[in-house]
Symmetry: D3
Subunit: 141 residues, 6 copies
């Protein structure tokens, strides 16, 4: 019950369309580099997002941070912007960036770490995004 | 080892974009009926497909049907047409149909049941499609 | 797109406390029949509920039934009454009944089937409740 | 709480080695029919077994059947004979039979249905065996 | 086969009741801080516990530590004390502590790390507790 | 989109037979140390392999490394050697080593880290092998 450092993780989900391609590549080069992920008609995924926050346990509440509060922040700043959206065309924090899972993890980390600045003692430790059951990425800042 | 009826199921996966809407609806009505699934910029899913085939156990092989053969048929006739594709725009057997999971299950059932006609004794029992971890549909013909 | 019968399933979750026991049994008999599930101090589970509804596909929407509507009905009539509650003491439709998963499935079936009476053509096909990763029950009415 | 028919399922697991082959086939024919599953040096799986039992709910206990009792029967008659064993060489009820998942499901059904004869009102409804995350079989007797 | 450091993890499960509240808070304040988790009638979870132990690989056995031995220690010192119990009222190592998942992870870490003192070279690396499919905590000492 | 360090993970699967034993032990001692895993007739598992690679995000592609390339390397150098094989008898990189999951993780790490030498900037961060749903090991080099 002392202020030991504990890591808490909240899982959220969003379903989105995307496409991997570069405008400065020909269609052939896009296909060569990005494979079927470059399909001009789009494809999509059920993305699973794991947000891990690190901080001391508050001895009054037994919490690192109230997970309802964390979930509300993730929903407003991340999930509502991505869910049932087109990542290439409709997501402000991905504007001008390749819609890869790596870039998505980095940008979500930055959005949420900024948002947690107002909470003393806690910070984002890791953003993990699972794109398919076989592929996931992690970013630790 | 007699010819008892056994059900065998093969799971396959595909990632696709889609949109729920009717051209004869206004944008408002589409939003009202289909919610965020009507987003004109598309969204997508990791679809999981379960194909259940029913038949007697072949006493020579111990198989209802060779699952490698079944998997190959599903890949060629269903998965390759849907994976990393736009269900509304690029899938022949969904042409002119609302891209709902219900309709997808019915059409996949028909495609595969036709294909299995050449195999004596076996038939498609059920097509199950999982769209998200909370929603799935089943069609038994 | 004709009115083929399709089965749609919505998964919902609730976390609740319960205890298996009979007031007319001694503590010893309760322990003998119900094992550690009879602990007078309660224990609990993350219950997973699968509600399967059966009906024809509406050719206008491609839906058997709007899953958002189904989810709202399940939440109001079932999940809100069970989630973070004590099944023995706080759930009206379990009043006076042993808090077994079998009884829970039967009562949830009845509650939801009544509620779906107002929807033409659809009915509850199955209530499945998963109590642990090793145990689940199904009731088909 | 009346005697409605409910289906209860117990999941158990076992890890075993096996090989698909016929002694009356050449090595080439075994490879042709059974593929890499015919490897003479064996291979193995984490098998997951789902035993579904059907019966009325006992109004005194709220149970179709005590799952601890069911689990004990499955362990003694099925899991202990298969777990960490070679299905082709060491399992009495598979003696002389091709070690396919189909045959395994049929034989486990028979073993357990016999064992449940002593319980009034209940019977085995289905044996489901998951061999890999992509393949499973079901036998209903 | 040299003494490389490897991390081994054993998963165990327990089902328990709990309640988040402070006696020095009013009911209103408990509800405000802890939400529906403060329900005075209790609620419960299927907790999943992951115990990660770190150490060199023993060249004689190929093991960091025998997982059967580790599992037995976890069962005796942790799982048997929590399973089908009330975490607030019946678990000695949680006595006087808020029954949050964070506190549970810290206390389980301490219990198991003490127990592993008798084993040369190995120590507890992480205790991870999954409370729901959306929430988990990790403690590294 | 700068060269932040991101971790990408590819999951692959293989089904294999193995046995834990030492030739210099008696059967009794093998049974005592390795339990039923020492069964001379073999047993097997569905192994799940997670390969985590670490490196900067390439600003041109948005990738740490093309996952198709990574998957191809893992398949050729690891999965094809293990899948539907006997780990004790048929796998070159396990030759002369106890077929424990710990040793398997160390050897797969070495094989893949060598293979990634030709790729600038990336390296294997972790090999995780899940042997059953309750047991897994991790090796970080």
């Amino acid at each position: 019950m002392t202020n030991k450092i504990v890591y808490i993780t909240r899982r959220e989900r969003f379903n989105a369309a995307h496409r991997l391609f570069r405008e400065d590549y020909s269609d052939e080069k896009n296909l060569d580099v990005f494979g079927k992920c470059s399909n001009p008609m789009w494809h999509g995924h059920n993305y699973t997002l794991f947000v891990t926050v690190k901080g001391p346990v508050n001895p009054e509440t037994g919490f690192v941070m109230n997970l309802k509060v964390l979930s509300k922040i993730i929903k407003e700043l991340v999930v509502d912007k991505l869910d049932h959206k087109n990542i290439n065309l409709e997501v402000d924090f991905m504007n001008g960036k390749l819609a890869s899972t790596e870039n998505l993890a980095v940008e979500i980390f930055n959005v949420l770490n900024n948002a947690l600045n107002e909470f003393e003692n806690v910070s984002v430790h890791c953003i993990k995004i699972q794109e398919t059951e076989n592929n996931f990425v992690e970013y630790f800042g």
